[in-house]
């Protein structure tokens, strides 16, 4: 029998070029797979890719729109990265973002008439506080009742969506526009002008304030995780909870703290939605966007590195933006989510090649030769 057999074994020597070449190879494989799906459903792959790239980064105003799409993804990506790094799989960024948006819109309406210098920091603080509170629920349950945080944080997303719907569609809440038209067509109350966040202009590209905040948050997270005791301890707890307990680290507090931090970052993302873009508590728009789930893709592709997260958010933001721009009969919605999934598959699979090597051998014909050497 000369059936070749495939074996996978751990690499003993790390080649320096591997961590660079493998992700590029994975990306190529991913685009190959996407091309196959496009072909099967009757779309030409190459023109589709070209149009996507053009609409994301090249066309008139494309970069401005890409920044708009990238900003929430940077926040939800950072939220996921912070928690996933400690092996706390918070997939509740979606709901934490809604709560942040509710809190920030509430404080903006409350402070109407005040100056932007007061309103904007208050919005960020309120968004962070509400997001953190929502993130604390799975945190406390995980820390003190050993409840799986994946399921609880996810279930809370649906609850948060229902809270949003209740505030805007089924009650006369503080957030709802209660004028005559607002009664007929339910929508949020317009936020005061001073609650609109500033923008920065670089040539023809407009960068929202929220994106700058996201970069600051990324820097804070980086310092926290690489330069402080807190960051070191979370790393140890993530890698080996038992070792951490023996070393006397307060595991439960860290779990709650990390999930609160994660929720707070997602909540600032919600505040940025109010302040940067929507200027109203937009219940339907927020729910259609799926920022929280895309944030997980962003964080995983960035391997939970905060700065890489912002960069990946920018790239995937481009993809999302191109998806909106091109959406139509020959460019069905759902394509972008599918592409993100395939890219993530390829990257996850590719990680194997960094750590292991694949050995193909002819089982019976090779072995005698080995024996003689």
């Amino acid at each position: 029998m000369t059936r070749p057999s495939v074996r996978i074994e751990r690499r003993l020597v790390q080649r320096r070029w591997l961590p660079v070449v493998v992700p590029i190879g994975s990306l190529l494989v991913a685009f190959g797979a996407i091309a196959v799906v496009l072909l099967v459903t009757g779309h030409a792959p190459l023109p589709t890719f070209r149009r996507l790239f053009d609409a994301a980064f090249v066309a008139d105003g494309a970069l401005t729109n890409t920044f708009i799409s990238a900003t929430p993804l940077a926040f939800t990506g950072l939220a996921a990265a912070v928690a996933f790094r400690m092996r706390l799989f918070n997939i509740g960024a979606e709901g934490q973002l809604y709560l942040g948006a509710i809190g920030a819109a509430g404080i903006a309406l409350l402070l109407a008439g005040q100056s932007a210098w007061l309103i904007i920091p208050a919005m960020i603080a309120a968004g962070a506080a509400c997001g953190a509170a929502w993130g604390a629920i799975p945190g406390v349950l995980r820390a003190f009742a050993h409840t799986n945080e994946i399921i609880t944080s996810l279930m809370l997303n649906y609850v948060a969506a229902l809270v949003l719907n209740y505030l805007i569609f089924d009650s006369l809440s503080y957030w709802r526009d209660t004028s005559a038209t607002g009664q007929l067509f339910p929508q949020g109350k317009a936020l005061p002008d001073a609650a609109a966040w500033p923008t920065f202009t670089l040539g023809s590209v407009t960068v929202p304030f929220g994106f700058v905040v996201a970069i600051v948050v990324a820097a804070v997270v980086w310092v926290l995780y690489t330069r402080t005791r807190f960051g070191f301890e979370t790393q140890v707890i993530g890698d080996s909870p038992r070792a951490a307990r023996y070393a006397g680290m307060r595991t439960r507090r860290k779990i709650v703290a990390v999930l609160c931090l994660s929720g707070a970052i997602a909540g600032i993302g919600g505040a940025s939605q109010d302040g940067d873009f929507r200027h109203v508590l937009d219940a339907r728009g927020l729910q259609q966007a799926n920022y929280g789930y895309t944030g997980i893709v962003v964080a995983a592709l960035a391997r939970y590195n905060p700065f890489a997260t912002v960069l990946v958010a920018f790239l995937l933001g481009g993809l999302e933006n191109a998806g909106y721009t091109l959406q139509g009969a020959d460019f069905p919605s759902g394509l972008v989510g599918m592409m993100q999934g395939i890219i993530l598959f390829a990257m996850l699979g590719g990680e194997l090649l960094v750590r292991y090597r694949v050995v193909i051998e002819r089982s019976d014909s090779v072995r005698p030769a080995e024996a003689t050497t």
Partner: protein
Amino acid sequence: MNDGIVVVVLAAAVAYGTPLLFAALGELLAERSGVLNLGVEGMMLMGAVIGFLCVQHVGGSAGVALPIAVAAAAVAGGGCALILAFLVVTLRANQIVSGLALTIFAGAAGLSSYIGNDFELADDPARFSFEPLDVLGLHDLPVLGPVVFEQTWLVYASWLSVAAVAFYLWRTRPGLNVRAVGESPAAADAMGIDVTRYRYLHTIAGGALAGIGGACFSLALTPQWVDGLTAGAGWIAIALVIFAFWRPDLCLVGAYVFGGLSALPLILQARGVTIAPQLFQALPYVMTIVVLVLVSTGTARRRLGAPAALGTPYVREER
């Protein structure tokens, strides 16, 4: 008395619990072999959209189109599960991130939505859907009539599946082997059980069941297609497995409790109860959290019976 609200809720609990039951049984099979499949929601949505696509385009009569649609849904779910199995068994990728990736790939904003939009499935209602049967003409029987004898084929198929999975796991040799693989893959390997093969097969079978569960939505409960049709049922199914203590019979009980909770807001609305619908809509999600907390504390935890090797890849050379 069969119009009384209790009977209506019970009958609806069975109908709405059925997709959860199929998906939970599938997840149970995968988890028993040691694979934590977090892609159930995506697999259900793929089953729902492919099932719906088939019923709209294949076959002349309901008797042909509906079975083909269910089979296609199972293949779609199983196909997604094959991707997951390749990632987590062969490539040893992180099971949690891979499962999430699959749900993003196939989910409400991914492939299922792409297929739904590309074939314009949202425009028309289903050509055929599963209708309640009248088994042995017993639908007039008090209480039991509507609850037991006036359900769709899918419901009866789900009961068979529960019995089949229970029998398989506890009364057959391969069933014993799966449990061994989930508890201690190294020991199973030493006994000559092909760990890789068992994990692949059970993950794929689980995906097929999840696909059928998704088809329950698009072919019976809400015979139409909208993006994200399953509305989190896949995630509830994952939670169900935990508080069913990894036992198929308890999956049935749990699925009907949550089916009832999901149906309650619709029934109350139909009867003119107008207090904030969101309160009732939130019930299944909040109850999932509450029950999960209850079973994960104290004495329940010791009796849980989670497969010991759940979520960990098996590498023969590194045990």
